[in-house]
């Protein structure tokens, strides 16, 4: 039955429809969405009934809103204001670190879409980040002796830095479709290795092994962000501009992924993740769903790669390696699989904890200097802690930091009761 015919007949058959609805609870089949929401509004629960019950939802749409409770809305606003103020209130290094967090969060969201939502494993995400970085560098960078550079505007470069890795992901997806589980994981490692070789060899793009190349010029809509502007009392240095750019992209990506996850496509992803054959039986087109997940995830990784390259300023073909992939996996795993805020918390954790350790190093007695002496030096401690944390999170809290947060929240929500 098409929607228009329902609407046309709904006025006449209303009593019938209501009785069907009472009997089966399947009203969504019969009533158009707008009418349902109108019903929900008509049956609004009084203020007193809502008090202290933030999760009282009277319609499906309300429950699946992006911010489904008022607290989330308020806190998000506060966080957004803090994030906007942060670069002006802190120094360069902190700004750079926070911008790195945002970039890792974008890449993590991309991987989360593929691994967390659609259940397809990829250890090759660093390759797509590299692809995005080089797309950005070639299109937006200055030409050198051997390297290409087109010096385009970021308004063109950034979308293309997402589109080209996305297209490559689209090409790879049919191959990846054929294999499942761990075979897919190793296939993506293969992709990573071949990509690294490609980057090393294609010197007109990458500048070659050990040499590297410059990155895209920070020119957005004809405005040179690198120059340093004065807007009222605020000074916009290049760092701050890149920070704000990453922040805006992250917010857009986060809302985009959240919206996708609660749409028909997102539910198809989840169905494929939970049991792909069952999903296929229910009419979810496997090939299309997996391909879409791959392409979107690669596009986000490419975008993150382009932004990351602009942050670090010079890129070499060796840095898009297995360890970067592991970092991105850690963002997803430590943050929380299949959660949006989890990816952002995870990125903050993965980027900031090593720096925190570096700052705390003088206070830890068992740490030696950069050379030998002491039990471990600070870099070794960082790395070993990273590995141990991955193990601990997977064994003790599979939902990651997001799960920890949910537990804390529930504790205070239920207080003084245990549950």
């Amino acid at each position: 039955m098409t929607e228009t015919s329902t609407q046309g007949s709904s006025a006449k058959t209303r009593p019938d429809r209501d009785s069907t609805r009472r009997l089966t609870g399947q009203s969504a089949w019969l009533a158009p969405r707008s009418e349902l929401d109108a019903d929900a509004r008509r049956t609004r629960v009084g203020r007193w009934a809502r008090a202290g019950r933030p999760r009282l939802f009277t319609s499906y749409a309300a429950e699946h809103a992006i911010f489904n409770t008022r607290y989330k809305r308020v806190w998000m606003l506060i966080l957004a204001i803090l994030a906007l103020v942060a670069p002006f209130a802190t120094n360069r290094n902190v700004t750079y670190l926070l911008a790195t967090v945002f970039v890792f969060a974008i890449a993590g969201l991309g991987l989360n879409l593929l691994t967390g939502y659609a259940g397809q494993i990829s250890i090759g995400h660093a390759f797509f980040m590299g692809l995005g970085a080089y797309t950005g560098a070639v299109l937006g960078g200055r030409p050198g002796n051997i390297v290409w550079g087109l010096e385009l505007d970021l308004a063109i470069v950034l979308p293309l830095a997402a589109i080209i890795p996305g297209l490559v992901g689209l090409l790879v997806a049919p191959i990846a479709m054929r294999v499942r589980g761990l075979y897919l994981a190793i296939l993506t490692i293969g992709l990573l290795m071949l990509g690294e070789q490609l980057f090393k060899q294609w010197t007109s793009v990458s500048g070659g092994q050990g040499v590297g190349r410059g990155v895209a010029e920070p020119v957005l809509f004809g405005m040179d962000l690198g120059g340093g502007y004065r807007i009222g009392p605020l000074i916009m240095t290049e760092q701050v501009a890149l920070y704000l750019l990453s922040l805006v992209v992250l917010v857009l990506v986060a809302f985009g992924v959240k919206n996708l996850a609660r749409s028909r496509t997102g539910r198809a992803f989840a169905a494929v993740r939970d049991r792909d054959i069952a999903a296929e039986v229910m009419g979810v087109p496997l090939l299309r769903t997996k391909t879409l997940a791959f392409a979107l995830s690669s596009a986000l990784a490419g975008l993150a790669g382009a932004l990351y390259s602009m942050l670090i300023g010079r890129i070499s073909p060796e840095q898009w390696n297995l360890f970067l992939s592991i970092d991105i996996i850690a963002v997803v795993v430590i943050g929380g699989v299949a959660t949006i805020s989890g990816s952002i918390i995870g990125a903050a954790f993965v980027v900031l904890v090593p720096k925190l350790l570096e700052a705390l190093a003088p206070m830890l007695p068992f740490l030696g200097g950069a050379g030998s002496g002491g039990l471990l030096n600070v870099y070794q401690l960082q790395t070993i802690l990273f590995g141990v944390l991955i193990v601990l999170f997977m064994t003790l809290e599979p939902r990651g930091l997001f799960g920890v947060w949910v537990r804390i929240r529930n504790y205070f929500k239920a207080w003084p009761f245990k549950y």
Binding site: T115, I121, I175, R178, V179, R180, G181, L182, Y183, A185, I186, L187, I189, G190, M193, L194, E196, Q197, K200, Q201, R275, I277, A278, V281, L322, I326, I329, V333, S372, L375, L376, Q380, T383, I384, F386, G387, V388, L389, I390, V391, M394, T395, P398
Partner: protein, 308 residues
């Protein structure tokens, strides 16, 4: 022709080391369903332990190697008990990520415990070579095939160890119990198999084999460093080509990867220099992708039966 023979022999030599490492992955995967990404770290710990025993402590090489295998086997079993046992019943990918974490941690341990200087494993073969059918008088091997002793040693050791292992796993009660466990852990438990012990034993065997592979790979007259652990990642295509759960597949996959790498390094600089240096390190991945296109579960891998 001599180039080809030379590449063939050295490929078989390195391939038999890859076969050992591949089998170490497969033994663990078959019994526990875990793809152990920590294997490279065990592999490098194996060669470091041998080096510490044979070079620093003066234990004879042929005693040091089995000793190192036992030690690393125990380490692997301990790792399994601490970090992998709690993951039973979780998705395979989660467990794989845990092993990545272990890999990172163990690599630093290896680095910290041993890597204060370049190490050798103290093998008796070093760079000794035999010249077959050529003129060895001028120092080289003009017109003949140069065969390093370590190549022969690798092939012999791999053949003996893998032959014994396959025979033992095929005939013994323990091998049967392992196969039962890999089929279904709960049913194996119900039939009286001590599944926990099978897990420990499988990891111990896997660790021991990885250590042996590490020693053999390091026994080429050169030095070994912690970063060499990444070399054993080239075994990943080997186990995928053969099929993750097949011992036979692991052995054949290892040999194929060794041959592909050796032939590529012999011919690619001549015929396809645009592919760049070190292409032999990625050539196995190309072969792997081609094999996966035709057979998604490797050549000998069991096709996963899907039920609703």
């Amino acid at each position: 022709m001599t180039t080809f023979l030379q590449a063939l022999i050295s490929g078989l030599g390195i391939g038999s080391v890859y076969a050992i490492i591949a089998v170490s992955f497969v033994v663990i995967f078959r019994a526990t369903g875990v793809l152990n990404f920590a294997q490279p770290a065990l592999f490098i710990l194996g060669s470091f332990t041998t080096s510490a025993l044979a070079v620093d402590a003066g234990v004879p090489f042929f005693v040091a190697v089995p000793l190192a295998m036992v030690i690393i086997g125990l380490v692997a079993a301990g790792v399994e008990r601490v970090a992998i046992r709690p993951m039973i019943g979780r998705p395979v990918f989660s467990t794989a990520i845990v092993t990545i974490g272990i890999f990172i941690a163990l690599l630093i341990v290896a680095f910290r415990l041993f890597d204060s200087r370049p190490r050798t494993v103290g093998d008796p073969w070093q760079l000794n070579s035999i010249c077959l059918g050529g003129d060895a008088s001028a120092g080289g091997c003009a017109g003949g095939v140069l065969v390093y002793e370590n190549t022969i040693a690798r092939i012999v050791v791999a053949a003996v160890v893998l032959g014994l292992l396959v025979w033992w796993l095929g005939r013994s009660r323990l091998g049967l119990a392992m196969r039962a466990t890999s089929l279904d852990q709960e049913i194996a438990l119900a039939q009286g198999v001590n599944v926990g012990r099978i897990f420990s034993i499988a990891w111990a065997i896997g660790g021991g084999l990885a250590a042996l592979g590490g020693v053999l790979l390091a026994a080429n007259g050169g030095v070994v460093q912690a970063t060499d652990a990444l070399f054993s990642l080239v075994v990943l295509p080997a186990i995928i080509i053969g099929g993750l759960d097949s011992l036979k597949g692991g052995i054949i996959g290892g040999l194929v990867v060794g041959l592909v790498a050796a032939l590529t390094s012999a011919y690619q600089p001549i015929y396809a220099p645009w592919l760049g240096p070190n292409f032999e390190n990625v050539a196995p991945y190309v072969v792997m992708i081609l094999v996966l296109l035709v057979r998604p579960y490797g050549i000998f891998g069991t096709k996963e039966v899907q039920r609703l």
